[in-house]
Symmetry: C2
Subunit: 153 residues, 2 copies
């Protein structure tokens, strides 16, 4: 990777907002994801789900999280060291085939550790559907490299 | 689905432990998952990752979570209504191609709501690698149907 393309902790400020692109949820992908990772009937059985409480298939919450991460990574080339934790994931509404999701994150906290050229960065993220209703909220704690200059020093 | 196969909230007790099967993490799957959902260089670029701080590819934390969910769902046919939240996900150690993961969950809390034939069930889960070191811990809050008898009443 090229260091110039990466976004270091020093490039962000608290209260900064990053807007994401959009993601179209398809029935084929809902089925494929759930068959592999979350084979519960309301995620993998079209007919049973249609007769069930949601009136149709709903996406695995894990897939919703994965869509969040994809949109996040496509929006920002984080100079990431490692994700440490994810807190407070709320699945607020069902995600269904045909939904178009988008989202954003807010930089809540940046705790620099210059002696290790890193910072713990806390982001609060959300995904919403085409009606503007939130389907997911979460907080992520991740270590980023702090400074571009220190990478090559 | 057959109601007799499902495990209702009434079938569990606080402090119950459920042991999971095992999951073998392959390089092909680490790459495929990350290319789709978490395309960061230490998850998708074998050569760069080999020269990087982890000395090789590491799995996306999202994939580790997905493995947890797969092992969970294969171990227990939950009479699930919906996942509500996931709290306190900690990625404790890298997961690498070649790792064999297993895990378990502990039923921490069951809050019945008999008027709605449901219960909020809190589980604390973990995944460990073949050396017995934990790679993931988390807590899940999910609504289950409370009683088998009430489903057909």
């Amino acid at each position: 990777m090229n260091l110039d393309d990466l976004r270091f902790a020093e490039d962000f400020h608290v209260d900064q907002v990053v807007e994401f692109g959009t993601y179209d949820v398809t029935e084929a992908e809902v089925l494929a994801f759930a068959e592999q990772w979350d084979p519960q009937w309301f995620h993998v059985d079209v007919e049973a789900a249609a007769a069930g409480p949601y009136g149709g298939l709903i996406a695995s919450g894990l897939q919703t999280l994965a869509i969040y991460q994809r949109l996040n990574i496509l929006a920002v080339k984080w100079a990431a060291i490692a994700g440490r934790s994810i807190r407070d994931i709320h699945f607020l509404r069902p995600v269904r085939p045909g939904d178009q999701l988008t989202g954003s994150l807010l930089v809540e906290q940046i705790t620099p550790e210059p002696e290790r050229n890193r910072a713990l960065v806390v982001t609060a993220g959300q995904l919403s559907n085409a009606e503007g209703k939130q389907v997911l909220t979460l907080k992520v704690d991740a270590y980023l490299h702090l400074s571009r200059a220190a990478m090559t020093a």
